[in-house]
Symmetry: D2
Amino acid sequence: MNRDLSYFARDLQELASDPDLIRWLTVLPGQLEKFMLENEHGDFGRWFKHLDKIARYRSSHRNFSSYVEIGRDDEISEGQKKDLANSLMQYAPWRKGPYRLFGIELESEWRSDKKWDRLINNIAPLKGRRILDIGCGNGYHLWRMLNEGAAQVCGIDPCTNYFFQFAAIRTMIENISGIHFFPLALQDLPDSRMFDTVFSMGVIYHQKSPIEHLEKIRKLLVPGGQMVLETLFVTGDSSTVLTPEDRYARMGNIWFIPSIDALSLWLRKTGFRDIKVHNTAVTDSSEQHATGWSCTESLDDFLDPENPKLTVEGYEAPQRVIITAVSP
Amino acid sequence: MNRDLSYFARDLQELASDPDLIRWLTVLPGQLEKFMLENEHGDFGRWFKHLDKIARYRSSHRNFSSYVEIGRDDEISEGQKKDLANSLMQYAPWRKGPYRLFGIELESEWRSDKKWDRLINNIAPLKGRRILDIGCGNGYHLWRMLNEGAAQVCGIDPCTNYFFQFAAIRTMIENISGIHFFPLALQDLPDSRMFDTVFSMGVIYHQKSPIEHLEKIRKLLVPGGQMVLETLFVTGDSSTVLTPEDRYARMGNIWFIPSIDALSLWLRKTGFRDIKVHNTAVTDSSEQHATGWSCTESLDDFLDPENPKLTVEGYEAPQRVIITAVSP
Amino acid sequence: MNRDLSYFARDLQELASDPDLIRWLTVLPGQLEKFMLENEHGDFGRWFKHLDKIARYRSSHRNFSSYVEIGRDDEISEGQKKDLANSLMQYAPWRKGPYRLFGIELESEWRSDKKWDRLINNIAPLKGRRILDIGCGNGYHLWRMLNEGAAQVCGIDPCTNYFFQFAAIRTMIENISGIHFFPLALQDLPDSRMFDTVFSMGVIYHQKSPIEHLEKIRKLLVPGGQMVLETLFVTGDSSTVLTPEDRYARMGNIWFIPSIDALSLWLRKTGFRDIKVHNTAVTDSSEQHATGWSCTESLDDFLDPENPKLTVEGYEAPQRVIITAVSP
Amino acid sequence: MNRDLSYFARDLQELASDPDLIRWLTVLPGQLEKFMLENEHGDFGRWFKHLDKIARYRSSHRNFSSYVEIGRDDEISEGQKKDLANSLMQYAPWRKGPYRLFGIELESEWRSDKKWDRLINNIAPLKGRRILDIGCGNGYHLWRMLNEGAAQVCGIDPCTNYFFQFAAIRTMIENISGIHFFPLALQDLPDSRMFDTVFSMGVIYHQKSPIEHLEKIRKLLVPGGQMVLETLFVTGDSSTVLTPEDRYARMGNIWFIPSIDALSLWLRKTGFRDIKVHNTAVTDSSEQHATGWSCTESLDDFLDPENPKLTVEGYEAPQRVIITAVSP
């Protein structure tokens, strides 16, 4: 597989074909080349070799309606499955899923389909839309978006192992288009009104500057475009914002967890309108738990064993909310 | 007066002479030239002409111990005073003071000496220190810092009329050195540990990203250097942060007003230590009020006429706190 | 017609599809957007309107073997021809040709086919090659290159009216691909070995730095790639280089006209090998003369009327040579 | 000695004090910091240690009227002389001189005083002028310029060992100002009319683009400022320019050696006026020869032993000319 810019050849062609997305090309190819050059050393070579191996298993069978399923159980032998599973495991941990690949059940730490089920009926239909998913992880939701008939689905996430997880999945599908993963951070995108829907799920509480996160999203949306914001929240009024002293539910790098009222206020103040709170949920262990593919501690370890309403650090246990808002 | 980079000749010489500040020259002269070029048109020409006029009134008499006083009442005639006052008025509104210039009482909206009196005994002595004052306005406090024996005092503020107010004051003093005003924003400074003390007074609640404001200050302080943070605060616990829907006490551009506990948490989280809360105060009209030199509405108009414990918008009336913290 | 980056959508897609040319995308889209933005005002709007008009005349008939011929005489009416000719005339002067468009004889100042005939049998066959033509004018030779079976033909020329002349020609052809005009200068290209053949015709004597011109071309050629260099030369040995005091044959902006030996030496010194001198010719008025479409004085005026061996300035009359050389 | 930007503290202060040179600060400090950072490793550390040693020998005695002489023979002991000579030898080869340092005769390959004697009476008096010397080597001529009463003398040369040679000389002098060496190339300077006289000696034939070299100098000169151009030339008319196939008199990196007529034409064409040819000379071995301090082969080896009118490569033996020209 090409380890230079031509790895992204098909992606760039598709962006060039789209009158709204073509402006992204003024900065994107240079960033992608830099990503490839900066990672020439280290694990990159080995990871690309496994990608070459994975690319030998390719199928026209696909189903993205719940599991992201590619290939049938009987399309490859048991020995081939072992080989494929071994290559896929190189990119562990697999946090987002579930995937079923030639019958292999790739069980991830998160059952991301549960989050999807909570939101899909609450957002503007994705059919025909250009979509950005910020912090998309390995891209599980990108496949669900494509399944809804989106015109172009673009995920960004700076983590290198997510880049390879996505690449592995995509390379197994024959004739696939309309779906892209770029190893970028949000600020790498140009200020251009390119997207009809932008997803920010599980991202805003990791931002040092949530206000600038929201403003950047507003600048990326076409007029009337929709943001789908999924986040942790805390109980409280419009002046309540939790900043954990250190970790929160064992997660590092958390800066601001607002109440729903505080978050709504931020949205109004950054210029969004039609702000709607759709759904709140407490994460339980059916949605998040350690698996052989994720290889890490998971939810059970994050809560106070004596009081599951608290995190191990003594904060309110995680609650999550989905909010939609419209860019003027 | 020179309207190109040589206006700043003396400032640049002094920075070049200081082993800690010299690194600023890697970016500063280019930024200053840009400021001069971008402002070639508009009021700039007229304002520089008045600066030339003001420069004719120069005295060796100075006293910065309470009023910033330059020249004596009897050094110039009444006609000259009128002429000088007229030129100074061109740069109105004068928000920070008070100044006494050749006997002219230049009464500003704020009695900034009151804030100074509250803080001076609570901070590390300024003698021999390199100091940065972020959002320094017309620079009133810079003179107070110089009076304490600071080695170099640098104020930054992007407002053009403050640039001229400071320039007017400085040009009236014979043989003055060690005090500088640069028309910059905080992010314009290079990440270099240049200062012994950094003041951030009345600035943090105007930041979209207060966390990054604090981190930038930490990066500008030498190890063991002190930040002096003065800000509005609200009553509450470590999860209380007020974001006003629109204006707060008639001020626009307010993003986050934290409680003292929340602010202390931010400081710990951005790496500061030795965090001390020194003083809280309610601003009253002896400290802030409209004057003939400030030409605007002032404090009396900002509070609810029926309940002075509330702002006109119904928020808690302004309270201010001084906190010091040390960079590791 | 789109007046933003999407005007170049098809071009960018084709470059993205080519493993050798894709690297150009790291800089090209930003340059093209800048070109479009900088020209928003002035004649640009009017010229794009005429392009929209011209785009109504589209044909599948094409023949690039001598005249660049598009459409047949009887495909459009006399009134339409008048309309089309009027729009084409907006982009005058037409220096390079000849073109025959729906029967309209577009006679250019130069019979560029004559130059082509002199060189085509002396260069490596163009079939399957990626080609760059530096200073391509309105792109007449690009069509001849495409006709030889080139894989991708790219012309660059910074002149805005050539951009429109090429755009007008291309828009009249149904389903055309593999041919591109970018409004750039040579130094705008990244140092990347992208091309199999690079043409520099009538360009090197306009360079202030012919050495750097040659070095840049060498860096753009794949190993073993061929440069086709066509230029004026003067009689003399390897130390003979004419720098005209002012104009030469009425042309301004002439810096160095070398002898063939001096030029060969430059080629060796800049790293080329297999240097071959193919053809020398004296330009006569059958090749260059004023026409109704070029609207300017032409060759007849450039020579001394009493001695056609001299230019009007008294220099040797123009002689031209074709040299090929290979990049190691 | 400081190995960061503060090594240049005094230089930057002096530039900041000069209304014409201050603009240089918009780019210079960043370039100097980069030079210091890029050279942190390798020989730099060792060379700076020797500079610290050399700095112990400091004198107020100086005489720049022929030899560049610093200190008297009897100011330091024989042991100290050995120590000093050893440190100076670290920066060998010493190509330009001669220097006499505390009685040590530092004999360089070139007797640069001979070139100086040929030109000093032919150029505009240097008294009170701001001067740039391009490719100044270790700066021998800078001292001669200072001796003529120049206001500010700036030399540039990208070679690291020349930087240390100059630094060594300057650090031995008490209270020296007005003389600067910056490790830069000509293109690093901003296009700003900063200098009254620019010297380009022994440099233009090393340029790939002599035209752009001349244009850059013209842009650096104040209106009416003088360029002093010293160069090799060849016999011939205005169309004679020698490009050596490989080396010329054993020198590599030679691109264009013009005749005097050709060079004069280039000067007119790049906008200079008052072009005067002052002096031509054949270099002989009294001016250039190998010494114990230069450690390399020298002139005797560069000429054809059987015919001293030819170089070893068979070209005309080196002749040099001094030309002055004025910037409009």
